[in-house]
Amino acid sequence: MGAKLNSEWEPQLLGFLCKWCSYGGADLAGTSRKKYPPNIRIIKVPCSGRVDPLFVFKALQMGFDGVLVSGCHPGDCHYQTGNFRARRRIAITKKFLEYMGMEPERIQASWISASEAGKFVEVVTEVTEGLKAIGPNQLFDEQRP
């Protein structure tokens, strides 16, 4: 992830957005010309339940500064239960990696429906601000500060 710690540094956020809700929310934000930080790169997944904790860890190991997993609100999952399962996985992944020493800001999750363009903008803005505050991800650098 190239340039670190210079004044032009901008956090890189990887979003895993579910196809039915959160991706729709992001799309709506775009089509309604709402402004949100360009720091997020989006991977569309069929369901938040598709997101393996491995994906989250690997993204951070590859140098992303933060990861956002987002799906439908509880009760609204296209597959009925996918986001409930995702919630258990995200909870232990986040808590456990925090225990190992990752900053809480780097692992984020949200429920955003296809009509919540406003919430999408809000979440991406907040998460990006949080990442700016803690600085670049140097967790896996060979020489750590």
Binding site: P53, L54, F57, K58, Q61, P74, G75, T81, F84, R85, R87, R88, R89, I90, A91, I92, T93, K94, K95, F96, L97, E98, Y99, M100, G101, M102, E103, Q108, A109, S110, W111, V123, E126, L139, F140, R144
Partner: protein, 350 residues
């Protein structure tokens, strides 16, 4: 005759009866190991081998490990933690309860040789005998026996054990262990108070003190800043040689193909760099959520003494705190990760 010996007699007797009456095809237990104060698993179909079965304070291996590998009816000797691993395997549909005869050992705890060596200042080869007598241990050196409270030499995970008596069994080899856990902790604490600086550092465990109370290593870690914790694990995992002993000894790591060996996509490189080692262990622990019963096998098996229980125990506590779930308590309950409640863990999500 001490209680270990009584249980051993009963075990041999019961195992013989089971084979003779054709109730099982296979017996899984422990026999004496090739080194002093060690044991090794005994897996046999033959009655003639059964006199080699032993019960002593060194039967550390979690025998649940072998169950998915064998077909047929199996009788398996099982301590408290092993029995929970068995129940967990039943929950995951890896073994069937109907095929099992669980011979329960009400467990008085396992003795850690390293602690005995520290206590006596002798190498394990110089010790004549280590015998457990209730909540005392008698260590004989040069023909002279000295008595110590058992809590001084028990394994860390045994000091923290919540359920020493098997959760599920067909035969129990003795009286259920009175939750000696609390008394163990108590006697340990009073000793530590009395002797101040007796507690010494734990192997190469990065300066973490060995147990003053069962969870003190975790508390030390939790009191650190995230940066310090990450640095701690970075250092620890730079020693890891990726031998996978910790995974191979683990009954909950039952995958035929582990993610570390996956090549499409390749999640991690085989070379033991700390970044990859740390990833292996982080993901392994996530896979073990709701399965690990804190048997301590991984930490015991690690050739470079990485304090792996500081990870497994944290996950154990975490699933309890978040989802009120304890591994291997109820064979009819769904596994942690296939289940959910309508309302839980919402505070972690925006």
């Amino acid at each position: 005759m001490n209680s270990d010996h009584k249980m051993q007699q009963k075990l041999r007797h019961e195992a013989k009866a089971l084979l003779e009456q054709d109730k099982v095809d296979l017996i899984i237990g422990f026999e004496a190991g090739s080194l002093k104060f060690t044991t090794t698993p005994l897996i046999t179909k033959s009655k003639d081998d059964l006199d080699r079965l032993v019960i002593n304070p060194f039967i550390v291996n979690n025998l649940a490990l072998f169950l998915p590998d064998f077909k047929g009816r199996i009788a398996v000797a099982s301590k408290g933690c092993d029995s929970r691993s068995i129940v967990s395997l039943i929950q995951d549909n890896k073994v069937s309860r109907d095929d099992l005869v669980i011979i329960g050992i009400p467990c008085p705890g396992m003795i850690e040789l390293r602690k005995v060596e520290k206590l006596t200042g002798k190498d394990r080869d110089e010790l004549d005998d280590i015998i457990r007598e209730g909540d005392k241990v008698v260590i004989t050196v040069d023909g002279k026996g000295s008595e110590f409270p058992i809590a001084e030499v028990l394994s860390d995970n045994c000091l923290a054990c919540e359920f020493p008596t098997p959760q599920d069994y067909d035969i129990l080899l003795g009286e259920p262990t009175a939750t000696s856990q609390e008394s163990r902790v108590k006697s340990r604490e009073s000793r530590v108070k009395g002797q101040g600086s007796r507690v010494q550092s734990h192997g190469e465990g990065g300066g973490l003190q060995s147990e003053a109370s069962p969870d003190s290593r975790l508390q030390t870690l939790k009191a650190m800043s995230p940066q310090q914790r990450w640095e701690f694990w970075r250092k620890e995992f730079s020693r890891c040689i990726r031998c996978y002993a910790c995974r191979n000894i683990c009954p909950s790591c039952f995958c035929k193909r582990c993610f570390v060996e996956e090549s499409e996509p390749r999640w991690l490189m085989p070379m033991p760099r700390w970044q990859e080692n740390l990833m292996f262990q982080a993901i392994r622990n996530i896979h073990l959520a709701g399965r690990c019963t804190d048997c301590g096998g991984c930490e015991r098996s690690c050739p470079v003494n990485i304090p792996l229980r500081c990870l497994t125990k944290e996950m154990y506590d975490l699933v309890d705190e978040l989802f009120h779930f304890k591994a291997g308590m109820d064979k009819d309950a769904p596994p942690l990760m296939t289940h959910y409640e309508q309302e839980e863990a919402e505070d972690l999500i925006r």
